[in-house]
């Protein structure tokens, strides 16, 4: 592949789709250092923003790659593609329409860790106060939790599902923990997925970049709070294990304490719906009891006395 006559880059051959706060920038930065790869240092968040797509058009998107010098592998990293708030089903459909043979990479991180890292980021950006009690925000289902997609962005199975359905083997899923443990292996696996020379190793690959930890200090969740907050993600992680065929039991901090189950219930109430919200005029009572007479009530069928269950 070489620069086209117009000098404009072709559409990307790969996208890093997220998750937010999961070392996507580490990956993009190091991919761009590879001689066969070009990946500009901007989060374009293009396919997640229908309005921007309409207003600016595809030429503008392609102009983001103007510094391209003919590298055979070209791509960008936008962590919003995988966020629940971006409606990943629509993001996946838009990507498929534009670049059906694209290679995708997703990095997934223990969802409570991801949430805490996102909180530090939003504190740094001034969208959350420095002394924010995120546990209290979640238990109260404060509107800011949904606004910042603090839980939704960690519902990976729901967010990945449309990408897996649409792109199958074109999607490579990585565990964030592996980047810390064996960055070289992870890096090489991405290169193989993108058809770039997997033997290239940039210097200082294992240096952690783009962490907010050194600069922002925010109260952290204690162990019990982590267990309780994980309740928001437990069902989704179980689905994820089946979807990607990987054992993620290392993510499980353990059951929430039984005597704090009311808080776990409150956390569950803050979990957003993963599908479209109801539209105006769509709601309303639909369950009128007009034809109850011809129903055989289950209680009439078996001679069993369930009242005995509760003492």
């Amino acid at each position: 592949m070489s620069p086209s006559s117009a000098g404009q880059a072709p559409l990307p051959s790969f996208l890093v789709i997220g998750a937010e706060r999961s070392a996507t920038r580490w990956l993009r930065f190091n991919l761009d250092r590879h001689p066969e790869v070009f990946s500009p240092p901007v989060e374009i968040n293009w396919f997640s923003d229908a309005e921007m797509m309409r207003a600016r058009g595809r030429r503008w998107y392609q102009s983001q790659f103007d510094a391209w010098e003919g590298e055979p592998v070209l791509g960008e990293s936008s962590a919003r593609y995988l966020k629940l708030a971006s409606s990943p089903d629509q993001v996946a459909a838009r990507i498929q329409r534009s670049i059906p043979d694209v290679r995708l990479v997703a990095i997934l991180r223990q969802p409570v860790d991801r949430l805490e890292s996102a909180v530090r980021m939003y504190v740094k950006q001034g969208r959350l106060a420095a002394d924010v009690d995120v546990y209290d925000l979640i238990c109260r289902n404060d509107p800011i939790v949904a606004e910042l997609d603090l839980i939704g962005a960690g519902l990976y199975a729901s967010c990945l599902y449309p990408f897996l359905q649409t792109f199958g083997e074109q999607l490579l899923v990585l565990d964030h923990a592996d980047i810390g443990r064996k960055p070289h292996e992870v890096y090489a696996s991405v290169l193989r997925h993108l058809d770039a020379d997997p033997t290239f190793v940039p210097p200082d690959l294992d240096r952690v970049r783009f962490s907010d930890r050194p600069t922002v200090s925010v109260p952290e969740l204690d162990d019990e709070q982590r267990r309780i907050v994980y309740t928001a993600f437990r069902l989704d992680v179980e689905e994820l294990e089946a979807q990607i065929g990987r054992d993620l039991s290392a993510w499980d901090p353990g059951p929430p304490p039984f005597d704090r189950r009311a808080e776990a219930d409150a956390v569950l109430a803050a979990v957003p719906f993963t599908g479209p919200a109801p539209e105006p005029g769509e709601t309303g009572p639909v369950d009128d009891d007009d034809d109850d007479d011809d129903v055989v009530d289950a209680a009439d069928v078996p001679p069993i006395t369930r009242s005995a269950v509760a003492p």
Partner: protein, 269 residues
């Protein structure tokens, strides 16, 4: 590409902890089937129905691409505490042509699995024996209702009453014995071609067994607890024409059924 919001053509209604998610997950692999991981729990929850509406329910299938078979799995539909007669009535009104699948399982095994599951979610306490939990009861135990959810035939009968032959009864034992045959029979009930075999049918999914240690019931305790389920299992056995004596604790098989019903009714247990 986007297709209009579908009417589900099949629903897996339960039982909880009886491989409903295993089945849904593998059905979704079939090229003619759309069965996303939605956990809608719609027809069991009149409040949800009222506030969200049937259009909302149908629009949740966002990845639907026109597959001929669309479905969901919500084990809550077959839970006694949700009044299955009402659930069946609401579902029949909305989806009169749907094919239903109910998976039933040895009720004591199902009960044990459910308790483990609820411990993992923090809804039941850790470190107690199964039997002491039953004896103590309490609000937490009653609200997750691991006993009632094991009374399976009574909970699925209203669906039989409404849907007739549209409901297929599957046995968890058959899944354990031959997952591929179990999968094929579900496919044929749904109407999909039975020549598709997904990968990994023999792998366990969604199990809590390794994550939670719990003291199992003793043989005598099994015998006592089985009293909750025996009459329901007998009805199921008659209706399905299937010998289910293998579900009985060995002591019941050897010694016959003790008359413990009066003990339960007196509330002394």
């Amino acid at each position: 590409m986007a297709a209009p919001a579908p009417h589900p053509t099949f629903v897996i209604i339960g039982a909880e902890r009886a491989a409903t998610r295993w089945l849904r997950f593998h059905l979704d692999q079939h090229p003619d089937i759309c069965a996303p991981p939605l956990h809608l729990d719609y027809f069991g929850d009149p409040e949800r129905m009222a506030t969200l509406g049937f259009r909302w329910y149908r629009r949740q299938f966002t990845t639907f691409k026109g597959e001929p078979f669309v479905g969901e799995a919500s084990p809550s539909y077959m839970m006694w505490k949700n009044q299955p007669a009402q659930v069946a009535r609401r579902m029949y009104k909305a989806l009169p042509d749907a094919r239903l699948i109910a998976i039933v399982r040895n009720p004591i095994d199902r009960f044990t699995s459910a308790v483990r599951h609820h411990i993992r979610w923090g809804r039941l306490p850790q470190g107690q024996s199964l039997y002491s939990m039953i004896l103590q009861g309490g609000d937490a135990f009653t609200s997750v209702d691991p006993i009632g959810c094991s009374v399976m035939f009574s909970s699925l009968y209203p669906f039989v009453d409404r849907f007739g032959d549209q409901l297929q009864l599957l046995f968890y034992d058959d899944l354990v014995a031959d997952p591929a045959a179990f999968y094929r029979s579900a496919l044929s009930h749904i109407g999909a071609s039975t020549d598709f075999v997904p990968d990994g049918l023999d792998q366990r999914l969604f199990s809590d067994a390794d994550a939670v240690d719990i003291e199992p019931l003793t043989e005598l305790e099994r015998q006592i607890v089985y009293q909750f389920f025996g009459p329901d299992v007998d009805l199921l056995s008659d209706w399905a024409g299937r010998d289910l004596t293998s579900w009985e604790p060995r002591s019941v098989q050897d010694l016959g059924t003790p008359d413990l019903t009066s003990v339960f009714l007196s509330g002394e247990l």
